[in-house]
Symmetry: C3
Subunit: 299 residues, 3 copies
Amino acid sequence: MEYAQLSDTLSISRIVQGLWRVTDWNYSDMQLLKFVEEVLSLGIDSFDQADIYGNYESEKKFGEALKLKPSLREEIKIISKCGIKLLSDKFPERKAKHYDYSYEHIVKSAETSLKNMRTDRLDLLLLHRPSPFFNAEEVARAFEFLKKGGKVLHFGVSNFKPSQFEVLQSYLSDSLVTNQVEISPFCLEHFENGNIDFFQKHKIKPMAWSPLGGGNIFNTKDEGIISCLEVLNRIGEELNCSVDQVVYAWLVKHPVGICPVIGTGKIERVKSAAKSLEIDLNLEQWFQIYEAGLGEELP
Amino acid sequence: MEYAQLSDTLSISRIVQGLWRVTDWNYSDMQLLKFVEEVLSLGIDSFDQADIYGNYESEKKFGEALKLKPSLREEIKIISKCGIKLLSDKFPERKAKHYDYSYEHIVKSAETSLKNMRTDRLDLLLLHRPSPFFNAEEVARAFEFLKKGGKVLHFGVSNFKPSQFEVLQSYLSDSLVTNQVEISPFCLEHFENGNIDFFQKHKIKPMAWSPLGGGNIFNTKDEGIISCLEVLNRIGEELNCSVDQVVYAWLVKHPVGICPVIGTGKIERVKSAAKSLEIDLNLEQWFQIYEAGLGEELP
Amino acid sequence: MEYAQLSDTLSISRIVQGLWRVTDWNYSDMQLLKFVEEVLSLGIDSFDQADIYGNYESEKKFGEALKLKPSLREEIKIISKCGIKLLSDKFPERKAKHYDYSYEHIVKSAETSLKNMRTDRLDLLLLHRPSPFFNAEEVARAFEFLKKGGKVLHFGVSNFKPSQFEVLQSYLSDSLVTNQVEISPFCLEHFENGNIDFFQKHKIKPMAWSPLGGGNIFNTKDEGIISCLEVLNRIGEELNCSVDQVVYAWLVKHPVGICPVIGTGKIERVKSAAKSLEIDLNLEQWFQIYEAGLGEELP
């Protein structure tokens, strides 16, 4: 496994294990512990969560598994997110989904994540989405409180554009260490909106969510996706590997240092993802995939 | 009334009285003076003009009213704009509407504004619109001349995007103190184009023109506007206030410190606007309005 | 002829002679030499090439002409480009058009340009297009190698957006001296995407390719182009000059210092272009052309 140094004090595995759907996997706590240990044995030491995943249950599920072997905490990096307030039976008083980046909510959300996952610290806390109602000064105060208390070691964002990243960064003394955005051959928007340039300029290594396009690419009728899959298939044959692996290799090869977040709960597919780091895509193949995703020829 | 500190030496009232349509109000000079005094008694001390308003007549009309009580000048802030050259019977030699940010035009326009409004200074002069033909160095020279002569105390822009703001700022020693842009639930573009982020990063408080969407929102057939109005109506009922007041409260609540420019000449509606500052919209209501204006769900 | 100072050590003529289609002109080497000398006698001393022009043959053709009078090299500036890898019978091993900004390719491409054009140095080397797969650090190393060896004296880019320019610049010690982009009344995108602002802020003088909209504007059925041509024709009549000249004058009048790259191989048209610098378009005419190109009224 390769590792990405996000800051002087934080490295994560190039492949990150996502836990978005952990409550859908129907694992017992012991089965989940086993899965986590197997993932870790592949060198994948970084686990991605959010307060809201699984209708606010994913962190708890993960915490129950970790509780069975507390020493595991020292071997892994835990990433979580905050800021979205979902409509949920857990919060019957809510009237509308919204974002909340108040001091109170950020602190409370992070503290709940700690309690849920039975840990005293998050290695990385991300703001889940940019908000039209955002007070960077207030966010900075919340970050400072969480950092000073040792509750959160590093901070980042998710789905931010450069101008949104810059406003928050300008209020912080520490550097935001990453931006977790959707990147895949099926989602190239961050190549267009300046984010990839921004990452390279500021030496920020992004995490990529939905690296396989959300998983529903295989039963689509979208012609663009179908013809993109044809290219991925062909290149998979050239390289003697699966389409998943081609996509991971495509992401990992990019010079900015993309770290894909994989969503599977099947250990065989995790192993396959880990192996994709060894695949040597050439530059022409990289561009063939980019062009297939773009749906038009390069100028 | 609350006040917004735009710079160390300039504060304006959070609600700004626009004079765009002053010539349509059919006020005698004395009636207009009376209106201005009543507005001022509400704490609204800032008046927004432009050289071109009312086919170049609005500043003169305002000047005639001020002439009746010259001491009023010391109690108010006068904002005007320059840079657009309209086709007008006043300028029969013009062949096409265009923008002119030459040294000569900026200086002449500001000096004409002073003469029209019978004052020796503008508190704030804004460039009315960004121009594809823009020489920042020349604009900077005009600003310097006007500043040194005490004719204009502060400078800003209107309808500029971040890159346009930055180029001008880079040629100036003083900071541009505001950007007057269209913001309303019916016009969210500055949440999308990076301006709101830019304002927060640089601690620039924007002014908002057409805060009610231009006023013709009430007799529209546009479904997006109609369903947005439904949400505003419902929240108005929840808060026991008018739709106008909901919108002003929505603008004023935003952390960047938006100052709405109201266009009405009816003192009752001005009073209603002033009272909106006391309305305490909650975060969910703020987002419900944002989402209604957006016309789609938040991600 | 006017000259544009792109850096302390590089000036180019405001009109640049493009050699994109030199292999289509059916000139003998001696005829091409004659053409170059006539162009030079007009004060146009800058010649624009790219590795790929004419299916990799344009540089060679130009080199054959220069070979007939080696002393000419000291009187001209040679601009070339690299980074695109075309599908071509010259490179049968290629499977897909792509971009290559590896150290090896940049160095090899520049060295091939030198050999083709029988010179020991390029005055200016441009990266031909921004690439989604771009390693600025690697590009910087290639530039440093070429600069130290005296093989390339100055560097720039082509078709880059501000964020792309910034990432590369942040890895370089020397300033990029220009960005060659498409600008014409038929292509106003760089007025919209922040590039024109960026050029002015950083005092970068852009080169404009396809200043006449690619040359096929005269036999189009596109209504927007036709009505834009009507405006250009009318202004040409007002100024007693050709449409070409109106367009060149429109470009050259802009405050950022645009240098049009002309594509013609006919000396009469080159003379006509050179003369366009003397045409004094007024501001209303400039805006009439801009608005005609925009296809809608200014706000």
